[in-house]
């Protein structure tokens, strides 16, 4: 369908889109209700794999939420005009994805009805409690940030709000990575590497989401993205993919160097079945090599469709990476008695199986749908479409 034809049915298309996404949200909420009603026994989770598929979705959304704000930060904090035009959309996506991720996390609790307890009882030594404060603060700061951008009188404060949001998002992703980094007993975690690794993962996942959403918005409105801007964003994405790969490499090299970690590395990299496959084929091949090949290919990297494909591959690779880290990290047994073979009725010493159940997937997709619904409606009613004022942007600033 050409754009003129689409224009005529645009209104109906919008409502159809909202209806489809709304239905996904409802299905996700229904799945959560089913899990709460019957208990987690209806999920694939167990006393061995205590965090399952909903956590993979929730953590992806939360990490990507902080990362997508990067686009705004480059504009407001580092003064790049091209990114300034994209800052409101970047802020909106950050809020929407955080809302989706937190909803999934909250609905996967054993007692989601006790949300008020989580908001009123704080153990300040817990990085989880700190995260509750950081998430809430993120909503407030980014909301103010968007307001300073969209309300002309407040524009003078944008730089300050943007700087606060930038610092806050770094703290937030540090804390998200530290949820795992602070787990002293598990071999996959207990590493200061995880905090900066989560930050760089957020840059990649967030930018990938931004590129896709921006592409859809431009297509929907029959507009074309400027070549130079397209080139900048795709180059930035390639740098982030490379940085995530570097952190992954150092993480595994460090583990391989420690004798006590060798068995765990063997499990993830060689014998781990689904985890090994997801690592090599999901994260490395699909999530790293393939998008890099596209983004650096002289022909393909100029085509919007291929850049969006690369961004989608980054997201797929991100899910694979989080699945390996979260589920693979729990599947490998705790080393309670190092140097001894152990067995028990509680599955000590065994690789723990996990098959995610349908409700877990539905809840996860429900979270994505919440983020999508908030975005679609906000973009409709408020002015989030990036508007490039090329009279303000010297063409020289658009060259790489």
């Amino acid at each position: 369908m050409n754009f003129e034809a689409f224009r005529k049915v645009e209104q109906s298309a919008f409502y159809a889109l909202v209806a489809v996404i709304g239905l996904m949200v409802l299905i996700g909420l229904g799945a959560a209700h089913y899990m709460e009603e019957h208990g987690h026994v209806v999920t694939g989770m167990s006393n061995q794999i205590v965090w399952g598929m909903p956590h993979v979705f929730a953590i992806f959304l939360i990490v990507a939420a902080s990362g997508v704000l990067n686009v705004a930060s480059i504009g407001s904090v580092f003064g790049k005009t091209v990114y300034k035009a994209r800052a409101p959309l970047s802020g909106l996506l950050a809020l929407a994805m955080l809302a989706g991720g937190l909803t999934v996390l909250m609905l996967d609790l054993g007692r989601p009805d006790r949300l008020i307890v989580a908001m009123t009882h704080f153990n300040f030594k817990s990085i989880f409690a700190l995260n509750v404060i950081l998430y809430t603060g993120f909503f407030a700061i980014v909301a103010v940030y968007i307001w300073t951008m969209m309300e002309r009188r407040m524009n003078v404060y944008t730089k300050y709000a943007g700087f606060s949001a930038f610092i806050w998002r770094l703290a937030l992703t540090t804390a998200t990575g530290s949820i795992f980094g602070f787990l002293v007993a598990r071999q996959a975690y207990a590493s200061a590497m995880l905090a900066p690794m989560f930050i760089i993962m957020s840059f990649a996942f967030g930018l990938a989401v931004f590129i896709i959403v921006q592409h859809v918005m431009y297509r929907w409105n029959g507009r074309t993205l400027d070549e130079a801007i397209k080139r900048r964003l795709k180059n930035l994405l390639a740098i982030f993919i490379g940085a995530v790969f570097y952190f992954t490499l150092v993480y595994h090299l460090t583990n391989m160097y420690f004798a006590k970690q060798v068995a765990f590395e063997r499990f993830i990299l060689l014998d781990g079945g689904v985890y090994t496959n997801l690592f090599w084929f999901g994260q490395i091949l699909l999530g790293t090599i393939a998008p890099l090949a596209i983004l650096f290919h002289p022909g393909l990297s100029k085509r919007c469709g291929w850049i969006v494909t690369a961004a989608m591959l980054v997201i797929l690779g991100g899910f694979a990476q989080l699945y390996v880290l979260l589920i693979g990290g729990q599947a490998f047994p705790l080393s309670i008695f190092p140097g001894m073979e152990v067995s028990s009725s509680f599955f000590d010493g065994r690789i723990n199986p996990y098959s995610p159940s349908l409700p877990e997937f539905l809840l996860g997709f429900g979270g994505i749908a919440i983020a999508a619904l908030l975005t679609v409606i906000a973009v409709r009613v408020l002015h989030f479409m990036p508007e490039d004022d090329f009279s303000q942007v010297g063409k020289h600033t658009l060259t790489d």
Partner: protein, 246 residues
């Protein structure tokens, strides 16, 4: 004849008096006994640190007395879903990879002085009582399961489904995390944990319970005399449960 009647009457009166005296005195004796326990309403004291010493050389492979006693005392029963069924205490079979020497021992919450589960709990539901017992406040546990991720001993279980027939002393709820309470409800009545009692009644003598802060307690004397081990001592958690023979 009259003598016989008198005798039987005297016996009756004596039995009656003894019985009445018993009925009158018994509650008093019980009260005296209970008076040794901590009165209700009085906070647990940090002058005590409850702990346990497990001698794995006396713990036989296949013996499950402690596990059964715990299940009965705390109402922890199998539901036929082994992967999601809570286990407060379990028997672990160990084999040294090099020498092939094997051990059997019970593993449960180690009641650490520096419990990682308490550190990570966002709401403070995981807490350590003044006398060293690590517990979950089921009123404010939100079921996030972060403590399960943090525990180095796999001591905690998540209640995956609703449970009937609970022990009134040990309320349990779907959606919360739970673990060995060291039978806190029994300790507060000056009794031993059910697992220790069962091990002793079975004449195994592999489990010793007592106050680690009291240098004259049997457990402190044994720890001062024999080489004992804290599991994952490298983590420096200062566990309340110690092992001998591994």
């Amino acid at each position: 004849m009259s003598n016989d009647v008198d005798n039987s009457r005297r016996k009756f009166i004596a039995a009656g008096v003894a019985g009445t005296a018993g009925l009158v005195l018994a509650p008093g004796v019980t009260l005296l006994d209970m008076a040794n326990a901590r009165p209700a309403g009085e906070a647990a004291s940090s002058t005590k640190r409850w702990g346990m010493l497990i001698d794995s050389t006396k713990c036989a492979t296949g013996c499950n007395d402690c596990v059964s006693a715990c299940g009965k005392e705390n109402g922890v029963a199998s539901t036929g879903h082994p992967e999601t069924d809570p286990q407060w205490i379990r028997k672990i079979e160990l084999k040294e990879v090099k020498s092939g020497k094997s051990h059997s021992l019970p593993m449960m919450c180690q009641h650490c002085a520096e419990p990682p589960c308490v550190d990570v709990c966002p709401t403070g539901a995981s807490f350590k009582r003044a006398d060293g017992i690590v517990l979950v406040d089921r009123h404010i546990c939100i079921g996030c399961r972060y403590c399960m991720m943090a525990c180095p001993y796999k001591a905690r279980s998540f209640v995956h489904e609703a449970h009937e027939d609970q022990n009134p002393d040990v309320p349990r709820g779907k959606g919360c995390v739970e673990s060995c309470t060291l039978c806190v409800h029994r300790i507060d009545k000056d009794q031993q944990p059910a697992c220790v009692e069962a091990c002793s009644e079975g004449n195994h003598g592999a489990m010793l319970f007592g106050d680690l802060n009291d240098p004259n307690s049997e457990i402190s004397k044994r720890i001062a005399t024999y080489a004992t081990t804290q599991v994952r001592a490298d983590l420096a958690l200062n566990t309340g449960v110690r092992y001998q023979g591994i």
